[in-house]
Symmetry: C2
């Protein structure tokens, strides 16, 4: 399944809180108060003025390619290929109906009473946190028949994009000519921190400056934030994730990967200005559809050297970590049903990332794909080289990228161990580190703070740090022991810092001691430390706080080196490459994914796999057939509710379908809409051939996978007897308050 | 579970055929035609003459420690501690009742009609090779009610140790003073190859020269070889491996990990001269027991620097490979029941090795254990330093070990990729490489051949190379693709050899092409190539043969470097350390394990784990209780045969028990006997705390785990109604020929 690696996969879910990027962006991430499109055009004009007039080349896009900015939609493409001209209202309606799940994924308002639809596997984080040994909502699912029965989520935050403002000029103006990379980084961070703070103070909205085109543009996104989210409906995991890991990222597929939440404000269901209406007819083979969602991260604009770095360094390293965690968690899970429940959400993230990354690596290791990338880059470099003025103004950004990557290679391990916390990976440590860092960062002016500790992000950060989500000491202990062992394996036992961290003990013994000795699991303890500031932190003898204090300096050191010697040089180099592309191809280009709202489009369409035609739709009947072919054995077992209602279900109802829409991890839960803006599907996955879309889009065999709205309605009616919910989706009634 | 890593774990089962060592020995491996003990004493005398007389220090052994040579048994220890004096006949009887499973494990004759007992998990390799999609003997088990129903194994070879001869003097005499390490290696190999060949020709017995004490002594082992082995009984895997991976290497335990085969010669059951009689009473808490088996490999004599090398290099590298394979095979297995069956034996080996190695690594990462090793080494070095003459004759072998390890570190990756075949790991490749190498090696005089291609080992090698064991193309393809990807991840795509191997394709595409294009799975094709010699090999256009040809030169190159620059210097250095130990402690020392027959002893004894007393015995009744505590869910489900006979079974019958006997992987299937030499149990595992026995024995909490003979009889009678088998074990009848 797809999840936003930017926040979920080996990112925030595994590493709670903002994390440094695998690729580039330190992206933070909002609906339109005013269209910033004219502003954007001005920025492009600025680039164009810098360069002499050149003949525009054809835009190097495959059909249906693109994760488009809502303030720069592919109007021309849509008109030319599909004769479709979205109005500003059409766009605004879709934009403000979409929401982002900050746990990692996408969603949308689908009723006037604040009902939000997403995937089961996006909601699973919330379901998991609400579960106990005796009530595993992930497995059993849930249906609130009245609003009183809707279950409040522990720490879930949804964001709705209100507006986009181009702040490129202001950001770039802060970086003066002649500044060193370190000075440039600090100046850039300062202005970004300040823009966000000013925006928050002016509008009261969550405000994030997003780096686009790897540094080509900076946009200020303003989000309306929702934090009172309640569970309305989730199916059983056996049908939500039917086929398990084997069928994940494959097609044909038969998954009811859907979940409904309701957004509350001031104790009442919110009445969103925009929400999507439900299609009764669904979509047809060959139909144009649109996806509004939050693709997590792509690397399509990367230079070839940068892709090689991913192929030879980042991906293998990450995959080794993922395999390590997978085995660790599999072994833990196999011990008991309760262990399985405790580790399930994390283990799913790990397995999902492992399969996605393996597919990505296979793409990077495919010489045909690399050759295509190399040809594109050669053409671009040639165009730059052919123009003396361009040559002078652009220089050789490819060499700059390569130089920055060489430094990155040297910093990589240390950065991973400390700043990404792999060496001490567990929830306790991540919370302890936040506490230690908040105390220190709060002493600095906002402009100088690390990005995740600025005033603009404080509220969301505290939701994480003070979350009441359960933490399981036994699971924590094996994760921490494994992290310490990994650290030792990487640096050897003579390492001074490691010796201090281990305090003369083995990784296992030290992990046991740390977990048994810390009070970090206690939220009241965390609050006290937060209130006590630096004095309380420095005086603390809590062993996990002590460990976080010990590792803070080396971690900051490598982060600083990364930011100043890798991140900033890469931004500057990519800004040049982006400006070159704008010059050559015009401004109808989309930036790489940044876990912010994008518009994709495509066609409902089957494909051919090893000579076999795969039709675009599967059916409910096919589900039972596929289960029977596997003797109904896990992961091909169906929940009892489905087995006993098999005869009532219409076997011909379409279940899942594929399309050419350009999506990636993070798009999970995105609504699929037709030309009228009605929901016809729900993105939840891509097929194996879509896994290379991280680097290059192709609609030959790559496909996005969706749940068909008709299967959602059929099962809600016949399996779950959720008539109130169906009525609400059809706009026929609002649900009673029930209390 | 325990398996001989020397041949099984990440060794021969994974890498078919002899493999270079993780640690030191290129060990090949034989019962006593004549006692070589006097010869051994002469060798020791030679060492003693070299050195001035020194006061003997107390032997640094823990109680019950030792994997003793049958030609140097711990007579003194047994007498002092237990008042037990084994006679030469007692020893010879036990020695010649024991057999080695060359698929990786131990066993013993337990009837006058050639019945051999081992573990289910040792027999599993044979069971797997006899299984098909429709008959999975590993899962269902099997019972031959008559000899006609006994199922012939595909390629199983058993060895019974006939004699041991000390050939140290002859081996060392071949190495002349002033020879370079390369010359020394070649001279040593030549004399070993020649000794083996001469022995084979003189006796007709399989003859292997074994390196003991990491190079301190060389013994010629002569084995009687059995190759017509038939399956008599195996229980269902659900009871043989009840508790699965979570309970593996843990205690309390409830496993019927037993299997019976019958050895045939000339189409008739063999009548072994020695076989063990069966105890009706079993053993008691506190009783002295003995184990005769084949511990695979230990590293207790390693220097601290060498242990650190294992801790920091070998183990982490191997564990990463194991985790990688585990995830690969888990994912493959989850797709269907047939996939699960195909990968099961391999996957078990991988998981078993992963858990064992993780335990070993945890021991190496424990500062207390390392400190103990360091103290021992300091004392030894001090003793050497204190004596001027010793100092001069010994030099600094610790520095020599360290220097050799530095070279090993540089060669490590290349050696693993090519000589261990990780880069192209699959059965097809391993067979192709044998074919290519046999053709080349056969052109050389026997004395100059690679160890695994000498005339002495030819018969056993051909059994492997021409095995009719099934090979599954789909499983092969994913393994090969993963190997090629691993290779690319390690060396990068610019590597010339990799580019040739990939032929312009991605690892996945190339693997598919190679497996689809090769005829190596066809045994007739292999025979033809074998008969055709070098011409046939060089003319072959079979893509797998071509790949093996391509990789042969670089693989030989790194092997040569390893043998001459690592193996030989290590042997020479360890020979000096061994001579020093003999000098200091006397000759009552046991060498590290070499997958050859050893005698261990110990006490049936519980232990205390985190304050909780663990009694030595579990019971059949406890099995049902433990299953119920896990809701009878896998891996805690019991086979139907057990569930339906639950009431008939005597709940109080002891099932498994622990003892302090010093065992390790490879000991699986070893008989446990009492003072009278009667079988009271069957070794199948050690607990978690025994996993550090790779490096250091301690009987504080470390324990060997056995199946109790009483549970074997109880279940054979009441669950399997195997009355003929029970009668045979009790020596009451020989089974009818039935045909």
């Amino acid at each position: 399944m797809i999840s936003a690696e930017g926040r979920r996969g080996p990112g925030a879910t595994l590493a709670r809180g903002p994390k440094p990027p695998l690729i580039l962006d330190n992206g933070k991430e909002c609906p339109m108060l005013r269209t910033a499109f004219s502003r954007l055009k001005n920025t492009f004009r600025r680039f164009l003025l810098l360069l002499v007039a050149m003949p525009m080349l054809p835009i190097p896009l495959a059909a249906d390619e693109g994760m488009w900015l809502f303030n720069n939609p592919p109007r021309k493409l849509l008109k030319e290929k599909y004769g479709f001209e979205p109005s500003d209202d059409w766009l605004l309606h879709l934009q403000q109906s979409a929401v982002r799940f900050n746990s990692g994924g996408s969603g949308s308002f689908v009723s006037p009473d604040g009902l939000v639809m997403t995937n089961h596997h996006v909601g699973a984080d919330a379901l998991h946190k609400m579960s106990t040994k005796d009530r595993d909502l992930v497995v059993t699912g849930y249906l609130a028949r009245t609003q009183a029965e809707e279950l409040p989520c522990v720490d879930l935050e949804l964001n709705m994009l209100m507006s986009i403002e181009d702040v490129t000029e202001r950001v770039n103006a802060a970086v003066k000519p002649g500044m060193s990379a370190a000075e440039a980084f600090q100046a850039r961070r300062a202005v970004i921190n300040t823009i966000e703070k000013e925006s928050l103070e002016a509008t009261g909205l969550r405000s994030d400056v997003i780096t686009l085109y790897q540094g080509g543009l900076y946009h200020l996104y303003r989000f309306k934030k929702y934090t009172d989210i309640r569970l309305v409906f989730a199916p059983e995991q056996d049908i939500a994730f039917f086929g398990g890991d084997p069928d994940n990222f494959e097609f044909p597929r038969y998954d009811l990967d859907v979940c409904f939440f309701r957004v509350y404000e001031d104790g009442k269901p919110v009445r969103p200005k925009h929400y999507l209406t439900w299609s009764r007819e669904g979509c047809r083979d060959g139909e144009l559809i649109f996806v509004a969602g939050h693709p997590g991260r792509t690397a399509r604009l990367n230079t070839v050297a940068h892709l090689e770095f991913l192929r030879d360094r980042s991906f293998p390293f990450l995959l080794n970590k993922l395999r390590r965690w997978e085995v660790l968690l599999d072994v833990y899970s196999e011990r008991s049903a309760e262990n399985r429940r405790r580790a399930k959400d994390l283990l799913f993230s790990v397995k999902n990332s492992r399969k996605a990354r393996l597919g990505g690596l296979a793409g990077l290791q495919d010489p045909a794909i690399m050759q295509r990338k190399l040809n594109d880059e050669k053409a671009l470099r040639q165009a730059a080289a052919d123009d003396p003025q361009l040559k002078q103004s652009i220089g050789d950004p490819w060499a700059e990228v390569l130089a920055a990557l060489r430094t990155w290679d040297e910093l990589f391990l240390k950065h991973d161990l400390f700043e990404r916390s792999t060496a001490v990976m567990c929830e306790h440590y991540l919370i302890a580190r936040h506490l230690v860092r908040i105390a220190a960062e709060d002493q600095k002016p906002n402009a100088e703070r690390l990005r995740e500790y600025t005033e603009a992000g404080r509220e969301s950060l505290l939701r994480d740090v003070l979350s009441e989500a359960p933490i399981y000491a036994d699971l924590e202990q094996i994760r921490l022991a494994d992290g310490l062992s990994f650290w030792a394996e990487q640096v050897g036992f003579r390492d001074e810092l490691l010796r201090k961290a281990l305090a003369g003990k083995s990784p296992r013994a030290r992990a046991a001691e740390l977990i048994a000795g810390t009070s970090v699991a206690d939220v009241a303890f965390r609050k006290k430390l937060l209130e006590g500031g630096p004095e309380a932190i420095n005086a603390s003898t809590d062993p996990m706080i002590e460990l976080a204090r010990l590792l803070d300096a080396p971690s900051r050191e490598v982060r600083k080196a990364y930011e100043e010697q890798v991140e900033e040089p890469l931004r500057q180099a990519y800004a040049k490459i982006a400006s070159l592309k704008f010059k050559l191809y015009g401004t109808d280009l989309y930036p790489d994914a940044t876990f912010t709202l994008r518009l994709s489009f495509g066609t409902v369409k089957g494909y051919t796999d090893q000579g076999r035609h795969i039709p675009p739709f599967t059916t409910i009947g096919g589900t039972f057939q596929w289960a029977a072919e596997h003797n109904f054995q896990p992961p091909y077992n169906l929940p009892e509710s489905w087995m006993k209602n098999r005869e009532r279900l219409d076997a011909d109802v379409p279940f899942n379908f594929v399309s050419t829409a350009d999506i990636i991890g993070g798009n999970s839960g995105s609504p699929v809409v037709n030309r009228r803006g009605e929901v016809v599907g729900l993105i939840f996955d891509g097929n194996l051939d879509s896994l290379v879309w991280d680097f290059v889009y192709s609609d030959e065999t790559g496909r996005a996978t969706s749940v068909d709205v008709r299967a959602i309605i059929e099962s809600l009616k016949k399996v779950y007897k959720a008539d109130e919910l169906v009525a609400e989706l059809f706009g026929q009634s609002s649900r009673g308050s029930g209390n």
